[in-house]
Amino acid sequence: QQQVKQSPQSLIVQKGGISIINCAYENTAFDYFPWYQQFPGKGPALLIAIRPDVSEKKEGRFTISFNKSAKQFSLHIMDSQPGDSATYFCAARSVSQFYFGTGTSLTVIP
């Protein structure tokens, strides 16, 4: 059973556009929601994270929007660049592990 559901599976965006990736969860015990970026052949790297007492967090071009009542959170990449092309994973933490979404392959077209 997938604890964190992520969509879309793949995304193609023009350079300068906004990339939006969505995640949903059911377990209200989750207390920390990170997003990871993974390039081919590399391990996932933490991009940005949010706790459930905050509705939005922004770091540079990356913003997490968090809707606690809907149990949804999303990653927005503003002014998307070709260098942002990677696989993005949302995650949610419980007591002893992180549950990951299935990933979104983002391609930013020059």
Partner: protein, 113 residues
């Protein structure tokens, strides 16, 4: 060290052989996780170590899989009698405590032929 280090980076083994994967966490990190990533898929939790507490082994897929960690240092993941379905990238991550972000190594790509 500067980051989480995993070795080997690549491992090709014959079906039925045992393999041992190593993870060196960031110094001082008490929490250590192992995940498996099959081609084109998400990360599958395997095991979690937190300090000297009993590890959470709930993600290990079969009794062929085991992991050890000595104190807050190196961890080894052992797969006995490897099968082709064990082929995947095995990722290790560590964090200072459970409450903060986890940092991943580059993974060990295991291929069972």
């Amino acid at each position: 060290g500067a980051g989480v280090s995993q070795s080997p980076s690549n491992k090709v083994t014959e079906k039925g052989k045992d393999v041992e994967l190593r993870c060196d966490p960031i110094s001082g990190h008490t929490a250590l996780y192992w995940y498996r990533q099959r081609l084109g898929q998400g990360l599958e939790f395997l095991i979690y170590f937190q300090g000297n507490s009993a590890p959470d082994k709930s993600g290990l897929p079969s009794d062929r899989f085991s992991a050890e960690r000595t104190g807050e240092s190196v961890s080894t993941l052992t797969i006995q009698r490897t099968q082709q379905e064990d082929s995947a990238v095995y990722l290790c991550a560590s964090s200072l405590t459970r409450e903060v972000e986890a940092f991943f190594g580059q993974g060990t790509r295991l291929t069972v032929v």
